[in-house]
Structures are given as C-alpha cells and as structure tokens.
C-alpha cells in the first residue's frame, strides 16, 4: 500500500507540471536564442532586425583584441584544467579510498569552498594577495590567473571524479592486491584506467568553468591579460554592437561542444 502511494506520487503527474517546465525552459533559453539570432543581424543594432549576414562574425574574427583575448583565455583554461584535475584526482582518492576519518566532512566542505563562497569575496581576497606577491617579486605573468583559476576549478573537477570513484566496484582493486600487486601497480593498472572517464569529465568541466570566469579574472589580471569574458565586459559601457553577440555565440558553441563531450564520456562508463 505504502509502496503504491509512493509510486503514484510522481512529480510529472502534478497539475501544471508541463506548463511550469516549459516556462522555465523558455526563461532559460529564449534570451540565449535571441542573442544567437541577432549575431546574424545585418544591421548595426543589437536589438532591431535588419536581415541575415555573417558580417559580425567577420568583424569579430578580424579583431586583434579578440584574438589576443581568446588566446589568453585558452592558455589559462588549459593550464588551470590540467592542474586542477591533477589536484582533484589526488583529493578524490584521498577522500574515498580509505577508512572514514575524523573531519572528513570538514575536508569535503573545504575542497568545495569555491562553490559556496560568493565569487566577489574570493576575488577581493585574491586581489590583495596577488598584489602583495607582485610587489614582492615583480612577476606579473599569467601565473596568477592560472593559480586562481586552478583553485576555483578544483571542485568542478573533484565532484565527477569522486562520483566515479564511489560508483566503482572495489573488488577489482582488492583482487589486484590479492595477486600481490603493489599499491602503485594497483593504482596504475586498475584504479586509474577505470577512473579515466571521470578524470576527463572533470577536466572538461574545469576547462569550461575557467573559460567562463569574469569576476576573479577582472580583479587579478595583470596588464594585457584580458580574457574573452573580461574583454566583452569592457565593451558594455559604450554602444554594444552585434560583434559581441557573435563572440558570445562562438563561445557558447565551444562550451556546448565541450559539455556534450562530457555528457557522452560520462554516459559511456555506465
């Protein structure tokens, strides 16, 4: 009886479910679709339609500043994705492949801190620290951006890797240990290959997260280190032209490709 009552309470059966779902999806995606549409606008305006054209893609593509910003974005995102995934993998192993220990929840919360603390708080804190380091060392390269992006990308890499580890059957690892594999051999030959889809998924999420960041980057970038998002933000005060739509659309497509790859990889492992 209780079982049946539970089963009949499906959220999809509630009145107004599809209406609410459709409204939510419209609210989420309509603005993005409109922006994408206007990136193909022939006219100068971001809000009145004057016919189809690829002109703004040409303008955006021919803009040296955009190219430079894209290059910096990709460099930072690639480095931050590699570093944060490496650290997140170690953290995930450390928090799942051992007996529960005191303060485990605390460690878990600490690792995921960037998900919970407002970005502006982290940004201001990082601004003060990086300024002090810049003063002391004189170094003003991309290292600061890479370091900061690595820090806030760790939870994005950590969560899929940990989920994968928790879903993995430990019998294979036990069997390897039973057959006198050293703990390194077990890790290298058994755990790591099984973990790979999780690691790839984590790296891609980290990459996309770094690529999209504005607030922290805006605060700690050194001269000449505008990334694509901070470059776009800088355009806001002056009249926006559809080339911003074109750049956004390209960024969106790129992000979608990466996220689709993430989805496919995480589906394959099941």
């Amino acid at each position: 009886m209780a079982d049946r009552a539970k089963r009949s309470f499906a959220v999809t059966d509630l009145p107004g479910f599809s209406t609410i779902a459709i409204l939510v999806f419209v609210a989420l995606y309509a603005p993005i679709l409109i922006m994408t549409l206007y990136s193909f606008n022939a006219g100068q305006s971001v809000a009145s339609w004057e016919g189809w054209s690829l002109d703004w893609y040409r303008v955006a593509w021919g803009n040296e500043e955009v190219k430079k910003a894209t290059l910096i974005s990709l460099q930072v995102a690639a480095a931050a994705a590699v570093l944060s995934t490496a650290l997140a993998t170690l953290a995930a192993l450390g928090t799942t492949r051992r007996r529960n220990f005191r303060g485990q929840t605390f460690i878990y919360v600490m690792i995921n801190q960037p998900l919970m603390v407002p970005e502006i708080v982290t940004a201001v804190a990082l601004l003060l620290v990086t300024a002090a380091i810049k003063k002391a060392t004189g170094y003003s390269g991309l290292g600061y951006l890479i370091m900061a992006h690595t820090a806030f990308c760790i939870p994005f890499a950590y969560l899929p890797i940990r989920a994968r580890l928790e879903g993995m059957d430990t019998t294979l690892e036990t069997a390897a240990a039973d057959l006198y594999a050293s703990s390194w051999q077990t890790f290298r030959r058994v755990t790591l290959p099984l973990l790979m889809p999780g690691i790839f998924a984590g790296a891609m999420l980290a990459f996309v997260t770094s690529l999209d960041d504005v607030v922290i980057t805006e605060f700690i970038k050194s001269p000449g280190q505008d990334t694509l998002p901070t470059y776009m933000l800088g355009q806001l005060r002056r009249a926006m032209k559809p080339d911003v739509n074109a750049i956004s659309t390209m960024l969106l497509v790129f992000t979608l490709v990466i996220l689709s790859a993430f989805f496919l990889l995480s589906r394959n492992r099941k």
């Binding site: 809000a47 390269g141 805006e218 355009q235």
Partner: protein, 341 residues
C-alpha cells in the same frame, strides 16, 4: 605529466616578468582607445603600448589601490580623479614635460576636480540632455521641461532613460537645485514634478538610438553621443541643452605613482593633447575631447556638430554628475523607487 609541467613553466616564463625597454601600460574603459592613434604613437616613439580594459571606475580604483597593478596610466571619470589624488595613488604632473598642456580648452583647464589641470589631462567628455524630433515639436528644445512638464504635442511620446543619477541630476537642476541637492524643498519639488510627469511619458528604456531613428517616440532624455548617432540616421532629430542645467561627464588620464614607465607616460600624455591626435581619439570614441583646435582634424560628420560642441549660450549651464552620497543619495533613491512603481 613532465611535458605538461615543462610546457606550463615555459608558458609562465614567456609572459610577463621583466618590463622591456620602451613599454607603456594603459588601463582604460573597453573599446575606448583609438587603435590608429596607438599605432601612430608606437611608430613615432618606438614604445609598445599595452591596453587593458576595465568595466567600472570602482574596479579600476580597487585594483590600483591594491598596489603593483603594473599600469602606468589610468582613465577615471571626473568624480574619481579626486579620490585617486586623496589616496596618494597618482603623481602631480610635471607640466614642463607637457608642452601641449596649453592646448587644453579654457573651459576644461580649471575644472572642479583639478584646478589648473595639475593631476589629469582630458580624454573624452559628453553631456546628458534632450533628443527631440523637431517635426513633432517646434517649441524650445533647450529645456528639461520636455520631460518634467511635457508640452501637449509631446505627451505620451516621451522616453526617459532608466538611469537614476543622470535623470535626477536633470530634474534637480530643473527644480532649481544643484546636482546632489540635500535641500528637502527642492527634492520635494523634484518628486512631485516627476510623479506628475510620468503618466505623460511613454516608456523608460535605453534603446534611444533605434527608437528616435525609427520615430517610435518623439523625445527622450539622452546622451549626446546617442543623439548624434540618431541624427546621422534621421535628420529630424535634434539635441537640446536644458538651460536649467544639463549633466556633464568627463574621463581623464592620470599618471600612477607606482608607474614603471613614467617617461613614456609623459610622452603619451603630451601626444594625446596634440589636436590632431585628440581628434583621432574622438573619431573612434565619437565624443568630444577637450583639446582646442582638434575639431579641424575630426571626420566631417563630427565637425561643428551641436551634439559635441554646445552653443556658447549653454556652455556654462552644464554640471558634473557625480555619484551622490548621504542624504542626497537617500532622497534620490526614494524618489526613484517611487517613480518605478
């Protein structure tokens, strides 16, 4: 992994570190610096200019204040120059290194935030006034009454930009006060007049250029740069300078105290005060620049435009719009909230 780390090390070493000879780091609003003018400067002096964007005065100030920003020159708005100076972030200019300093137009020489221009040189400036379609209204357009007490011909066809600071500055000046007035009498008059006028407006939105061009409305509170673009697309649009007082803004270049390339910075400051180069800045950003004689070098569609160059009778009617504080801000927010209902 090893290759990755090596690659990373190379990447980090390749960017930054030692400032090479002949560099200059400019921190400016995005899409605001003429690339042609920068190229001309680079070729003339063999100095490589790196431009970095900011999106608000507050972000720029926060970064400079934190120290070791790495920038030489920053372009804050009028109200912020004093803050930079007070905090000891900027250098008093050595005018002997700036022979073109004399080119600063007389009305921009003794500005309230920098008497004698010892701390900042002009970059671009503009105003907030009225755009009116003169086919619909033939009366006086040089008044804030256009939106504060709309004439019958314009009722129901007026737009007001949803920008609290600019709109309330115009309204306060119209009511006889100064920008950031704390006088309860004046502010009550502002409130009553705005609430009475609102039913006669059509909308409060930002897209003034399209809608004035397409004649969707007949008048709007507007920025001079937008008004200019509307008129170039539709000759019936005219820009009015409210005689009760109109809003002004100006961005200025300041030299940071911790600048590493001070000599190049002086070269640049002097360079942009040359009328020909100032005109290049204006041709790109589409605003006036505050340098005498630059008009002659501007593109034809910017020469003697009433939007960029206020007629003599209105020259002294402008007041700088700053972010108000304390009681004045409380009044503004209360009125604005009521107006949005």
């Amino acid at each position: 992994m090893k290759t990755t780390l090596t690659a990373l090390a190379l990447l980090m070493a390749g960017s930054g570190l030692a400032h090479a000879e002949g560099e200059l780091f400019l921190y400016n609003w995005g899409n605001y610096t003429s690339p042609d003018m920068i190229k001309k400067f680079e070729e003339k002096y063999g100095v490589k200019v790196t431009i970095t964007d900011f999106d608000s005065n507050d972000t720029a100030l926060a970064k400079v204040e934190a120290g070791a920003s790495g920038f030489d020159l920053v372009v804050p708005s009028a109200g912020f120059v004093g803050i930079y100076a007070e905090k000891g972030l900027i250098e008093e200019l050595d005018l002997s290194k700036l022979p073109n300093h004399k080119n600063i137009a007389p009305e921009w020489m003794n500005v309230e935030w920098d008497q004698g221009r010892k701390w900042s040189v002009p970059w671009q400036w503009g105003s907030t006034g009225m755009s009116v379609n003169v086919k619909d209204y033939t009366g006086d357009i040089n008044t804030s009454s256009i939106f504060m007490d709309p004439p019958p011909e314009l009722q129901g066809k007026i737009n007001v930009i949803p920008e609290m600071g600019d709109v309330l500055a115009l309204a306060t000046m119209w009511a006889g006060g100064n920008v950031c007035s704390e006088d309860p009498e004046v502010m009550k008059k502002v409130r009553d007049a705005l609430l009475a006028a609102k039913p006669k407006w059509m909308s409060m939105d930002y897209s003034t250029v399209e809608k004035m061009t397409n004649h969707d409305y007949s008048a709007t509170v507007d920025w001079n740069g937008s008004s200019l673009r509307s008129r170039l697309a539709n000759p019936d649009v005219a820009y009015g300078y409210p005689k009760e007082g109109y809003g002004l803004w100006m961005d200025n270049v300041v030299l940071l105290k911790d600048a590493k390339n001070t000599e190049n910075a002086y070269l640049f400051l002097d360079f942009i005060m040359d009328p020909e180069n100032a005109a290049m800045l204006s041709a790109f950003a589409r605003y006036a620049n505050g340098i005498s004689g630059s008009e002659a070098f501007m593109p034809d569609d910017m020469k003697s435009t009433p939007e960029l160059f206020p007629p003599a009778e209105f020259k002294d009617k402008g007041q700088f719009v700053t972010v108000c504080t304390g009681k004045a801000l409380d009044y503004q927010k209360a009125i604005w909230t009521e107006l949005q209902k």
